[in-house]
């Protein structure tokens, strides 16, 4: 007669025997491991920022927050604009009040808890604005650290976050050297700029590109040699942020100086 114990044992063995090839082999399939890193896509989105053209109006940030439903008054944003003021004593003052959602409408520098710093116009050596957004890195550290596969890169180079899959561990927020990521106050999932993936995949432009009246922000496809943005990146003096981290950032800047971090 079959005892309860041996029945349980046998059924677990049989079920296990069926499940192991199903599940374990899927984990170690060598074909998938060797999947081509560059992928079959003919599109690789890149971004071009011209810091000479940016005037710090912040229309890009306003439009981004509304388009992508980032709570308007929460102090988080997918994109932001930094002001750099280099004074005669060699000091560099950087601020981005409310991510520059309302632009820069004061000559004083917002030092956060330290209050406002008044700077006389005559003390300024140079001052300019630098828009920032996700670099859609080619070696994205934020993706490498995700323990559950909630953030990933598409074949056209955009790093996305699966909100239903994110467990909120915060590793990616720590891993991004550019400080791009934050937690969405409503969805409680990691959030970041995705070049307006819903727009670019429909042939539209990211909303910050549309909102910028000065052409400081542009999007392009680096795999298309005739794309005007690709031509500028290939033939003019452009730079990227924090190259030394090896992340291969894909947002290119015209007019960067050493003060910009």
């Amino acid at each position: 007669m079959i005892s309860r114990r041996s029945f349980c044992k046998k059924s677990i063995l049989i079920l296990g025997g069926i499940a192991v090839p199903l599940a374990a082999l899927e984990l170690f399939d060598p074909k998938k491991l060797a999947a081509d890193r560059s992928g079959p896509s003919t599109v690789r989105w890149v971004f071009l920022v011209d810091t000479h053209k940016c005037v710090g109006c912040g229309f890009c940030v306003k439009a981004c927050k509304i388009e992508n439903e980032i709570p308007y008054d929460a102090n988080v944003s997918r994109t932001w604009v930094e002001r750099y003021v280099v004074t005669r004593d060699g000091k560099v003052h950087i601020d981005s009040p409310k991510a520059a959602r309302d632009g820069f409408t004061s000559t004083s520098i917002d030092q956060g808890a330290l209050g406002m710093l008044k700077i006389e116009n005559s003390d300024i050596d140079k001052a300019f604005f630098v828009p920032k957004l996700c670099n859609q890195c080619d070696n994205p550290p934020c993706v490498q650290v995700c323990p559950v596969g909630a953030t990933y890169q598409t074949s056209d180079g955009v790093v996305l976050v699966d909100r239903s899959w994110c467990i909120g561990c915060g590793y990616c927020v720590m891993a991004c050297p550019y400080g791009v990521r934050f937690f969405h106050p409503v969805y409680h999932a990691a959030e970041k700029c995705n070049f307006c993936y819903h727009r670019i995949s429909k042939g539209m432009k990211p909303v910050c590109v549309e909102a910028c009246p000065f052409g400081a922000r542009r999007i392009g496809n680096i795999r298309d040699p005739n794309d005007p943005v690709t031509r500028i990146i290939m033939t003019e003096r452009v730079n990227v942020l924090k190259e030394e981290y090896g992340t291969k950032p894909q947002v290119f800047y015209v007019g960067l100086t050493r003060e910009v971090k």
């Binding site: 499940a19 199903l22 388009e67 409408t105 300019f128 604005f129 890169q153 549309e210 909102a211 000065f214």
Partner: protein, 161 residues
Amino acid sequence: MKNHVLRPLFVAVGVVVLILLAREVLVPADFGVQERGYMYGWHRKGNEADWKNVRAKYRTTAYCKECHQDKYADITGSPHETIMCENCHGPGLAHPNDPQSLHIDRRRELCIRCHFRLPYQASGRGRIRGVDPATHHPEAECVLCHYPHNPRWTPGKEARR
């Protein structure tokens, strides 16, 4: 089978099998390694479509001009030509069906985003005509004197809309 060494081993195997079974049930079918390989492409494929299906709220000037040709004619050729309608009027998605959803921002704060004078010669801001809003008619909305769709029109000379 009575071996006390083997028994914990069976338990361990059983636990592994249970986890693998649970994995088989819980992980969606489209979860796995996609185009970017194990390091960067390990995800639920369906999420790409989720993101693509998000609706675009900003429709851009090309969309607004289909109905508002008069305003489009005013702003064309003016220094404000490059400012898209929705920067001041808000996203247009719901507007054709629900005109009230559009809010026209007439506050001074909107204009001084560019026209607060900042003498930053290293950036384009230094070349924009600016004022100090604390002294330049602080009591009035800018649109009282300046026609935003074409700021070159001088007040009084032409009928403003």
